[in-house]
């Protein structure tokens, strides 16, 4: 263990911990922007600057290892002014388009600017050409001007997904996140899920909602057997997008694939069946629940009476819930009286 002092509090942390982790362990908040718990430290934004006694210049807490006996100060007028300057510099390029930005209300930059009292674009520059938003995949829109070049998306694509298909291209005011040759994007959306601002947004639905307007319902993905935990964001009975906010939860720890994050449009597809159908004179025609279920009950009973229960069978579903599968086999076994029940586990 390593012992250090942060804001006059004695902290003891495992060797190798960073100053930021030590502060968090002691319940002391250091402002961050590029840092994200599930990624290794990036150290690009310099919001997390702190004083270390005996070191002439402030250091970044996110990637500086906590040494034994360090005395750290996380807040001072000088540090606050340095952080304010970081934000002022980011606002040189970042447009103040918060009202039309998807991320409004859940934007780390917006929160920090508000917290540090930066109220306008205080630094100017030569006029430069604004870049238009574009679809970088069919699901993901990129708004290059909003990018704060924190590097989270690049880190996540490489570290979490093991793909590494994006990188920071060019330099200075013209830097942007662009493709990295040799690796192919699979549209998993990990980049947009870690973007602290609205530089990468979900392009599936035109309709959007502020975070406090929509409801977030946590559920289990309906595709493969991994069983990822995700949040359906819902407004007026419609799914608007899928998010993940809990990076500590098994089995997926906040990560999704293209199907889990973007594959929910089928739920309100116009092809959805909305009425029971019954075959009459060779055609399937719309019916009522009462007629359809009445017909199912009487026909199944009739066939059971005529041919015995083993003349009937059922395919239950790897799509449906446990409760529904239980009831299905109970229906076959207890009501029909056959063990002819199976499903597509083999298919």
């Amino acid at each position: 263990m390593v012992n250090l002092t942060i804001d006059a509090v004695q902290v003891s942390v495992p060797e190798g911990s960073t100053i930021l982790e030590a502060a968090q362990a002691a319940g002391i908040r250091i402002p961050t922007l590029c840092w994200l718990k599930k990624l290794s430290p990036i150290g690009s934004c310099r919001m997390c600057v702190v004083h270390v006694d005996g070191v002439s210049r402030p250091v970044t807490a996110c990637d500086t290892v906590a040494g034994d006996g360090l005395v750290v100060t996380t807040d001072s007028d000088e540090l606050r002014e340095m952080r304010r300057d970081v934000l002022r510099l980011l606002l040189v390029r970042h447009p103040l388009d918060c009202p039309v930005c998807d991320k409004g209300g859940e934007c780390d930059l917006q929160d920090l600017v508000t917290e540090f009292g930066v109220t306008a674009k205080e630094y100017g520059t030569e006029p430069f050409e604004r870049q238009l938003p574009r679809y970088v995949s069919p699901f993901i829109q990129q708004w290059p001007d909003r990018c704060v070049l924190c590097g989270r998306c690049v880190q996540a694509c490489t570290e979490i997904k093991g793909i590494g298909c994006i990188q920071i291209v060019d330099n200075g005011l013209h830097s942007y996140i662009g493709p990295k040759p040799g690796a192919e994007c699979v549209s998993c959306g990990e980049c947009l899920s870690v973007c602290p601002v609205g530089a990468l947004t979900d392009g599936v639905r035109e309709t959007k909602a502020r975070i406090w307007q929509s409801e977030r319902v946590e559920t289990t993905c309906g595709y493969c057997g991994v069983g990822c935990q995700l949040e359906l964001n819902v407004l007026d009975g419609r799914i608007l997008r899928v998010t993940t906010t809990d990076f500590d939860k098994a089995p997926n720890h906040g990560t999704l694939c293209v199907k889990g994050r973007f594959g929910w449009e089928f739920v309100d597809h116009p092809d959805r069946l909305t009425k029971p159908l019954v075959r009459k004179d060779g055609d399937l025609v719309e019916s009522t629940w009462d007629e359809a279920l009445g017909l199912v009950a009487s026909r199944l009973q009739q066939i059971k009476d005529e041919h015995g229960p083993d003349a009937l069978g059922g395919f239950t579903s790897a799509r449906c819930t446990n409760e529904e599968n239980y009831l299905f086999q109970k229906f076959l076994r207890a009501v029909i009286g056959t063990n002819n029940v199976d499903h597509c586990a083999r298919l």
């Binding site: 069919p138 979490i160 093991g162 699979v186 549209s187 409801e215 559920t219 289990t220 993905c221 309906g222 595709y223 493969c224 057997g225 991994v226 069983g227 359906l232 819902v234 009975g237 939860k249 098994a250 089995p251 997926n252 694939c257 739920v267 597809h269 069946l273 909305t274 029971p276 159908l277 075959r279 359809a292 279920l293 017909l295 009950a297 026909r299 199944l300 066939i303 083993d310 069978g313 395919f315 239950t316 579903s317 799509r319 449906c320 819930t321 446990n322 409760e323 529904e324 599968n325 109970k330 229906f331 076959l332 076994r333 207890a334 056959t338 063990n339 002819n340 199976d342 597509c344 586990a345």
Partner: protein
């Protein structure tokens, strides 16, 4: 899975066989890639296709479809020959070793090379990488099971895991990756002809007495029919009525002409689904059900973790949750089945199912629990067989290699193997109705090696006719160095090119799984 998904982070080596992990279980695939690139874990990939994970592998064995067992036995032969097995573990925890060891004698690396084309040196290296790492994890999927020797191949993998002492160990294990959200749960819930919930056998009189009493009806003690067998009985006329909930066998069954004939032959077919599927179009009654976003309940994932499903949007007008439809129907057939909601059904399940007994909706509100979980103080079981096997001693099964049911010949010179593509899912009922996903991947292709394509004068995008002894379909060619020369690959998502018209319904005699992964086809330019 014997082990938790998180165990991937602890493995020192992986043997991935018959699983295109990064495309079909991307979140597990990510973890494997992380383990390899960031921790230096070793990776052996065995597959007929150069799948994306093969690019990360230390050893990639590109096998012919159907040769899993020959290669696995060869690997185990090397492990024994080089003394890389865990003798203490075998002595203490396993039985049947001597007969098993004797059964491996003929599978020398040279024999494997001669009979399958896999290089003896690469086989030796694969064996050493897996056997010398501790712990080492086996990940597999339908590429192992969908063969006439599917059960035998799983036994071979179990032999391999036991031989190296990797069962019951964090980071090790024998880990089938299940392809559907609740295929684990459907099995756990007794959606199988031989068992009720928690794998309690219908032939077990004592266990069934409990169900007789709880359900107020006597459960039959004779094993019922599998999906494949029900299809055959429908075709021969002895099965008269079929109730299909949330499945689309008209796309997913092998040899589709056979299942079509079977369904047409039924006196009465009920289909319960969210869309009018290819199967629904054959039904006498179609019942509109709710999607996962419109109902409450639980799914059990591939690591046996029971997790909540929550209603996020109201049911599409006119639709009902599947459980409510079934309860209504049971009532109409004179059986009282009144439930306030899914939680009440779950309470009934856990009262009858020892492995689920300790799981409640309250306990899984924040995070799911992996079964077995015998009581409400039990934390769940992320790793099975720790300290001892469920059956007592781990039993080695000698497994021989027979090869697939159908091999290429002069008339049908190519191996065809099938699977999924990354953005689409199963019969495509859902993903092909996700506008943006389908915009990107609107049509299927048949993957063909450049060597074969040149010989046949084919370029990417060329339309072709693909035929087998069971049918013919048209599709387009994608020329890509992914399968070896002599093997082509197609996915089964696309109803306009239904590859299962070609596949072979020959099945594993033990578990009745059809041999989707191997059949012989002819490819002709159109």
């Amino acid at each position: 899975m014997t082990n938790a998904i998180a165990c991937v982070d602890k493995a020192e080596a992986f043997l991935v066989i018959g699983s295109n992990t990064t495309e079909n279980h991307p979140i597990i695939g990510d973890r494997v890639k992380r383990a390899v690139t960031r921790r230096g874990a070793k990776l052996v990939v065995i597959d007929p296709r150069r799948i994306p994970l093969a690019e990360y592998a230390n050893v990639f064995l590109q096998i012919r479809p159907g040769d899993n067992i020959a290669v696995l036995n060869g690997i185990m032969h090397v492990i024994l020959q080089e003394g890389l097995h865990d003798a203490a573990y075998i002595e203490e925890r396993c039985e049947g070793f001597d007969a098993f060891a004797a059964s491996l004698e003929k599978f020398t690396p040279e024999w494997v090379e001669q009979n399958t084309g896999v290089s003896a040196d690469a086989l030796r290296e694969a064996a050493r990488l897996y056997a010398t790492a501790d712990p080492a994890s086996i990940l597999y999927a339908m590429g192992v099971t969908q063969h006439t020797q599917g059960t035998d191949a799983v036994k071979a993998l179990a032999n391999l895991a036991m031989l190296t002492g990797n069962v019951g160990k964090e980071g090790g294990g024998l880990n089938p990756l299940r392809g559907q959200n609740n295929v684990q749960g459907a099995c756990d819930m007794g959606g199988l002809p031989n068992v009720v919930t928690g794998y309690q056998k219908v032939a077990d009189d004592e266990a069934m007495a409990k169900f007789d009493e709880a359900w107020g009806r006597k459960v039959r003690r004779e094993v019922g029919l599998t999906v494949t067998e029900m299809g055959n009985r429908a075709a021969d006329g002895s099965l008269k009525a079929l109730y299909i909930m949330g499945e689309n066998p008209m796309i997913t069954d092998p040899d589709l002409h056979h299942i079509e004939k079977a369904l047409d032959n039924l006196e009465f077919l009920v289909v319960q689904d969210i869309f009018l599927t290819e199967t629904g179009q054959k039904a006498d009654v179609v019942l509109p059900a709710c999607s996962f976003a419109e109902k409450d309940g639980t799914f059990t994932n591939t690591e046996r973790r029971v997790q909540r499903v929550r209603r996020a949007v109201a049911p599409t007008p006119g639709c009902r949750p599947d459980w409510a439809i079934l309860a209504d129907l049971m009532g109409r057939m004179g059986y009282k089945a009144e439930y306030a909601g899914p939680e009440e059904i779950f309470e009934e399940i856990r009262s009858l199912t020892p492995s689920y007994a300790g799981i409640t909706y309250d306990r899984i509100e924040n995070e799911g629990i992996p079964w077995p979980c015998p009581d409400t103080d039990h934390p769940g079981t992320p790793i099975l067989h720790v300290g001892g096997f469920a059956r007592g001693k781990g039993l080695f099964h000698p497994v021989d290699y027979n090869g697939p049911d159908e091999l290429p010949d002069d008339d049908y010179p190519f191996f065809l193997t099938t699977g999924r593509e990354h953005p689409h899912y199963h019969s495509g009922t859902m993903t092909r109705r996700c506008g943006r996903i389908n915009d990107c991947f609107p049509e299927g292709f048949m993957e063909m090696n450049p060597v074969d394509a040149e010989r046949l004068g084919l370029a990417t995008g060329d339309p072709v006719k693909v035929s087998s002894r069971r049918g013919e379909i048209t599709t387009k060619v994608q020329v890509i160095d992914r399968t070896a020369p002599g093997t082509v690959f197609m996915s089964f998502h696309y109803s306009e090119s239904p590859v299962n018209q070609l596949t072979n319904s020959a099945a594993c005699p033990t578990c009745k799984i059809p041999e989707y992964k191997v059949c012989a086809v002819r490819v002709e330019k159109l």
